[in-house]
Amino acid sequence: MTDFSSEIISHIDRGFVADLLSKGERVDGRAFGEYREIIIEPNPVAAKAEGSAIVRLGDTSVVAGVKVLTGPPYPDTPDEGVIMIAAEMAPMASPLFELGPPKEPAIELARIVDRGVRESKTMDAKALCIKPGKLVYMVFADVYTLEYDGNLIDASSIAVNAALLGTKFPEIKLEDGEEVATGKELTLPLQNMAIEHTVAKIGNHLVIDPVLKEAMVMDCRLTMAVDKNDNFTAMQKGGGAGPISLEMVDQAMGMALDSSKEIRELITSTMKNPE
């Protein structure tokens, strides 16, 4: 997440990565537009969470869990459910992460992943309303980082979407002011799942799904959420202060579009048919 470059990485490292890229090679041998292997473990928290998934992106891994509770709606949206997405950069995952309250990089991670869900209107918030002004479903999706080797954003986005897709929860009705479980099991009203894709700019080169070594020498990164209709539903330039040209943004959008369908299908097939 952070721009560690000047403090930790020597000029030699930056030169090494850049030289490789000039030859058309990445530090781990991938093509510029190629993701690392993505492994999704469905429902690792089956007994306690309404939905969950562990996602591995090479040596980066995260766990996402979904809790569905009931509560009153916000006063300004009385007929909509509550959706809260958070992410934590736990010190377990990297010697670069610190103990204590979340710092800017962790806040940015959480907000980017949240925006990917919220701005894509992934869920139909009105379908999460039980009784307007009184009771709605509250959907909390939380991501914990387990191993950090770059690109937490995409791993978290995949994990959150997988966990939401696999979520099952008991239907609740309000009868005479009391909450009653109907016994029926519901799934979330998912209407437009978008996946986030992160491209790093290193010199004149763009690489998707950057590993830590690339993240440490990148000028900046561009994260793009792409929905099932190939619309862009959220975007964030971050990960450093390097400027980026319009042409490179266009190129990055193309790389995101090229990867999006396959990842979406992996999520869907894994979560719809868990072993």
Partner: protein
């Protein structure tokens, strides 16, 4: 406060917006440099009803010390909204949104600064939103880069910024509150005027790739215009500072020497 009413339509039959603007027309913009006496540099911006102050201190010693960077200055940006700047009262403590926006503003400004000239120091940019009516992060960048220049901090150029959005399928420039709330998307960006490279880029809503390319191009065009307004504001501030009877141009020439133009940009004052 004036109670907010949802407009029937954001664009009328003639292709004009809710408030009568053309689709590529900015709201009225007033920028003023040197508005705060105690800060090393300062500026204000009024863009529509948005009203923001920016103050710069530094380069100066950094506290707490563990934030110190050994090879360059720490650019610390603090973007804060007044509790009364929004329709509902904002809680006084800094929100996660404010902290994230502080971070993207720092990223937007950093490319024009020579931070490596001030190792271990801090350059503080304090931004106070007095009234928020859409586009606050962009307006803040416009004001902050003026405040940095006012503080005499060497810069490659000023950084203009604007948000482009979409209403009823049409791309529109410089969103107001209603267009932000009832429109279909928002693309705030900031540029280096010399190269047109983007130093801020965010997006929400829903856009095709082609729409985004067009939106960014519209934003770059609007930034070019805002850059002229920034330079005007800076020029006015130097006129004011010049002792009476002295030649204003000399004063500005002195300033020019302090500015670096590595990015090939015309010097800030040059074409005035």
């Amino acid at each position: 406060m004036s109670p907010e009413v949802k407009p029937d339509s954001l664009l009328n039959a003639e292709g004009l917006r809710f408030d009568g603007r053309r689709i590529d027309e900015l709201r009225p913009v007033q920028m003023e440099v040197g508005v705060l006496k105690t800060a090393d540099g300062s500026a204000s911006i009024r863009q529509g009803k948005t009203y923001i102050l920016a103050a710069v201190y530094g380069p100066r010693e950094l506290h707490p010390r563990h934030l110190t960077l050994n090879d360059r200055a720490f650019l610390r940006v603090v973007y804060r909204m007044a509790t009364f700047s929004v329709p509902d009262r904002k809680r006084p403590a800094p929100s996660r949104r404010e902290r994230e926006i502080s971070m993207v503003i720092a990223n937007a400004l950093q490319p024009v600064l020579f931070l490596e000239q001030y190792p271990k120091a801090v350059i503080d940019v304090f931004i106070q939103v007095i009234q928020a009516d859409g586009g606050t992060r962009c307006a803040a960048i416009n004001a902050a880069s003026l405040a940095l220049a006012d503080a005499g901090i060497p810069m490659r150029s000023l950084v203009p910024s604007v948000a482009v959005g979409k209403a009823e399928g049409t791309l529109i420039v410089d969103l107001g509150d209603e267009e932000d709330k009832y429109g279909e998307g928002d693309v705030p960006l900031a540029i280096l005027p010399g190269t047109n490279e983007l130093t801020l880029l965010q997006q929400d809503g829903s856009f095709t790739r082609e729409e985004l390319m067009e939106a960014m191009q519209m934003g770059i065009n609007a930034c070019k215009y805002l850059h002229e307004l920034q330079k005007d504001a800076l020029k006015r501030s130097y006129s004011k500072k010049a002792p009476e009877g002295e030649d204003d141009d000399d004063e500005m020439d002195d300033y020019d020497d302090d500015l670096e133009t590595d990015l090939g940009e015309a010097d800030i004052m040059e074409d005035e």
